[in-house]
């Protein structure tokens, strides 16, 4: 029991379970799943589906945060990748793989710019990625020539609204990305190097780790994840809005990683717990809708619940709570 409580996955999972159970209380059919037209339907599926963009961002963000950095530009990269994809489709490019590839390349380039600024020039991550966070929206506006670019393309739209093996495509994309990135960092020693750099960059250099290269790599992966999220978001609404696509999602992504138990100071990370963090955020949003809470309260309640989750994860806070409880007895 004790070791279960101390496992780093316990609190994020417990928070998710509590929020989901609250939903069950509010609407009894919340856990109901239905198989129709070769696809799963149900509130749970909806939660995962709608969490997919933030969860994708959180995967890349986990690695960036593990090196002691942060990537504020991911929301803007969503807008850029979306603008690239939408304009290619409008311009008559029909091959979905080509569109996806070019959108991903855009994200990779954005990531390499961030990585170069942080890893090679040594600029503070928050400043370096702030550049692209601001400039990125401008770039997306330029690509879109100041318009909201909409398109009609069923093949591409399927990436946002279609299904694969009974799962909504965004969920499938999320799962595949999670597995691939997990293999990339844990199947190799990259994950160990990332954690080493996050805990002690100086000692990492002393054992021969190329700290700059590791940082470039994590920002590149984060850029790719952001581009994927951008593809999903753009396909979902069949249009690219440079001003609003992915707006503030970088903050949700950072929050997801933190709810997943990672420290912003860098070090240990867990990709799947970060995804759980993204699910917590989305499940909470869904609860507020189902619960019929007036929309004006949403942001406030969201912050309060998140503060509670984060406090519960903090060992000193739990100790104080325990001391209070035993003191009263």
């Amino acid at each position: 029991m004790r070791s279960l409580l101390q496992h780093r996955g316990f609190w994020p999972l417990a928070a998710l379970a509590v929020i989901l159970l609250a939903n069950l209380a509010l609407s009894p059919e919340f856990f109901a799943l239905e198989f129709r037209d070769g696809r799963l339907y149900g509130s749970l599926v909806d939660v995962v589906n709608r969490a997919a963009p933030v969860a994708l961002l959180a995967i890349g963000m986990s690695l960036v945060i593990a090196t002691g950095g942060v990537d504020l530009s991911v929301g803007a990269v969503i807008a850029i990748a979306g603008a690239v994809a939408a304009n290619l489709l409008v311009g008559g490019v029909d091959a979905v793989p080509l569109v996806v590839l070019l959108a991903l390349l855009t994200g990779l380039m954005a990531g390499l710019v961030n990585g170069g600024l942080v890893g090679l020039l040594g600029i503070q991550p928050i400043v370096a990625t702030l550049v692209l966070m601001v400039a990125g929206r401008g770039i997306a506006q330029l690509i879109n020539a100041g318009q909201i670019v909409t398109f009609r393309h069923e093949g591409f739209a399927d990436l946002g609204v279609g299904s694969v093996l009974a799962l909504p495509t965004p969920v499938a994309i999320l799962l595949v990305t999670l597995v691939l990135v997990q293999l990339l960092v844990r199947g190799t020693a990259l994950g160990l190097f990332i954690e080493a750099v996050g805990f002690n960059p100086r000692a990492s250099r002393h054992v021969g780790i190329r700290v700059g290269a590791v940082k470039v790599a994590v920002y590149a992966i984060s850029g790719l994840c952001a581009a994927l999220a951008g593809i999903v978001v753009t396909a979902d609404i069949q249009g690219a809005d440079a001003n609003n696509a992915g707006l503030w999602l970088e903050l949700d992504a950072i929050l997801a990683v933190v709810i997943g138990g990672a420290s912003l100071a860098g070090g240990r990370f867990s990709l799947w717990l970060s995804v759980v963090g993204a699910l917590v955020i989305q499940a909470l949003a869904t609860t507020l809708v189902i619960g019929g809470v007036p929309p004006t309260f949403n942001l406030l309640i969201k912050s309060l619940v998140i503060v509670a989750v984060l406090l519960l994860q903090s060992a000193p806070f739990r100790r104080q709570l325990a001391a209070l409880a035993t003191g009263r007895r």
Binding site: T188, A189, L192, A196, F199, V207, G208, I209
Partner: protein, 501 residues
């Protein structure tokens, strides 16, 4: 010495931590105007005793008497108010504030709620003058060397009207001249009646300044002696609980080694970190000692060899081929290894497990895409733990939980996994207790006998004499003398350093 009334007395003090009896009914007595050395290996209970004194923890049993009245300091602030003032090895002051502000932090002279900066600075200058320090008190504390910061911390402690000054390893990062300066201050304080507890692992310093010595072992008091009446071997025996031959062992005769081409030949090496010119040659199975005062360039030479500085002149020839060592990765390709001086900042990756800390260098050499299988990592770590005698619950414990000596062993293990040709050890025994010290010296000798070339930089001449075939004496970044073979003796090295300066 005559026995004046005790200022501070501990009677049967005990402290228990989960899983360990840190202190078991310890008595300790401190008189006014005495320097009382508190000695023991790591884990003997020195830090716990100090933390009880300074109110960091409450004692489980026994009592603490100050001037015969029992006290129970509930925190460092209360202990300070009672006149018990600690100075730690790591300076606990604020590096970004001025020296003067640090001295009067929390008790600044004020007028109308504002700080009177001019008076603050005058007071600070006057206070430091008493300690023989003349410096610009308006500069930030962090811009001064550690030694000065330490003296500032002591000045602050004393000025807070300390009756009992606790010096916890104050000299660990000081060079000989600075130690002398510190001891001058301590002697002055003793004359003025301050009672001083002195914790250190430098036995020379114990004898240089202490009046009495109390030795702890495994949480219990072994005994208290007048320093003058306790011979050094007896002291070491008291600390270790056994006669440790290795410590007092005469220098062993080194294997001559096959006299072929030297493995490494360095000529006129210079780098942008202050290394001006160093030349030496070292062969497989040999140990080269690097001697010199603090700042003489020992660490700089070690770092340059390992690619941590930019080479600006001279040549490094390895196996008769000239090499440029531009990065640690390049050094590792030549099978060089460096155990750095600052173990915490540059050596261990604290929160990672012992296993991860041990395998990481080998993993870097294999490349990130060829991950060492889990089973192989466990085998390497287990073997290293056994072979080097790392004391730990298991290989998954975070390395930061280990004692200094065991951390140093883990870093040694990290490099031994990579099967190096040249092992550079910068201050391998700094901050390590006597037992581990001897073990590490024995290990260096063993590695050497197996054909490794070893470079040891150390501020402890005794240690250099014990391990070196040849000693390079450095000063101001230059190699100024090389002492070889039977001529490697403590007096010879001292002479070389002294002649140079």
């Amino acid at each position: 010495m005559s026995a004046p009334a005790a200022v501070l007395e501990l009677r049967g003090v005990s402290k228990r931590f989960p899983g360990a009896q840190a202190l078991d009914r310890v008595d300790f007595e401190l008189a006014a105007g005495e320097v009382h050395a508190l000695l023991g290996e790591n884990g003997a209970g020195k830090s716990t005793l100090i933390k009880l004194l300074t109110g960091v923890y409450p004692a489980d049993g026994g009592e603490i008497l100050l001037d015969g009245r029992p006290i129970r300091p509930s925190g460092p602030a209360e202990a300070l108010a009672l006149g018990i003032s600690p100075v730690y090895q790591e300076v606990n002051l604020l590096a970004n504030l001025s020296v003067a502000h640090n001295l009067y932090l929390g008790r600044e002279p004020r007028r109308f709620g504002g700080i009177r900066w001019r008076q603050l600075n005058t007071d600070a200058t006057r206070l430091l003058a008493r300690f023989g320090l003349d410096l610009d008190v308006r500069r930030s504390l962090g811009s001064f060397p550690i030694a000065v910061q330490q003296l500032v911390a002591i000045a602050r402690g004393v000025d807070c009207s300390a009756r009992v000054l606790v010096l916890d390893e104050p000299t660990a990062s000081l060079d000989a001249a600075e130690v002398k300066m510190l001891f001058g201050v301590v002697a002055e304080l003793r004359r003025s009646g301050t009672a001083i507890v002195f914790v250190t692992h430098f036995l020379d310093q114990v004898y240089a300044i202490s009046d009495r010595i109390t030795v702890l072992r495994n949480g219990a008091r072994v005994g208290t002696w007048d320093a003058a009446a306790l011979a050094r071997p007896a002291l070491v025996a008291a600390m270790l609980g056994r006669e440790l031959e290795a410590v007092e062992q005469a220098r062993s005769v080194h294997a001559a080694g096959s006299r072929q081409l030297p493995v490494l030949r360095v000529s006129d090496l210079a780098a942008d970190n202050g290394l001006a010119s160093a030349s030496f040659a070292i062969d497989a199975g040999e140990t080269l000692g690097l001697a010199g005062l603090l700042g003489a360039g020992r660490t700089e030479l070690c770092e340059t060899l390992f690619g941590l500085a930019r080479q600006t002149g001279g040549a490094i020839a390895f196996r008769d081929r000239e090499q440029r060592v531009a990065s640690p990765a390049a050094a590792m390709r030549l099978r060089f290894a460096l155990c750095p001086e600052d173990r915490k900042a540059s050596g261990i990756i604290g929160p990672l497990s012992i296993r991860e800390n041990i395998v990481i260098a080998l993993q870097v050499r294999r490349g990130w895409w060829r991950r060492l299988p889990e089973s192989e990592q466990a085998r390497l770590a287990g073997e290293a733990i056994r072979r080097l005698g790392i004391v730990c619950p298991d290989a998954e414990t975070p390395v930061e939980a280990l004692s200094g000596g065991n951390q140093q062993r883990a870093i040694l293990a990290r490099w031994l996994c990579t099967e190096p040709c040249l092992l550079v050890l910068d201050e391998p025994t700094r901050g390590i207790d006597v037992g581990a010290h001897a073990a590490i010296i024995a290990l260096i000798r063993e590695l050497c006998s197996r054909g490794l070339a070893v470079i040891v930089a150390s501020s402890e001449i005794e240690e250099l004499v014990a391990v070196s075939d040849r000693v390079l004496v450095l000063r101001e970044g230059r190699g100024i003398a090389t002492i070889e073979g039977p001529a490697v003796t403590e007096p010879a090295i001292f002479r070389a350093i002294a002649e140079a300066s």
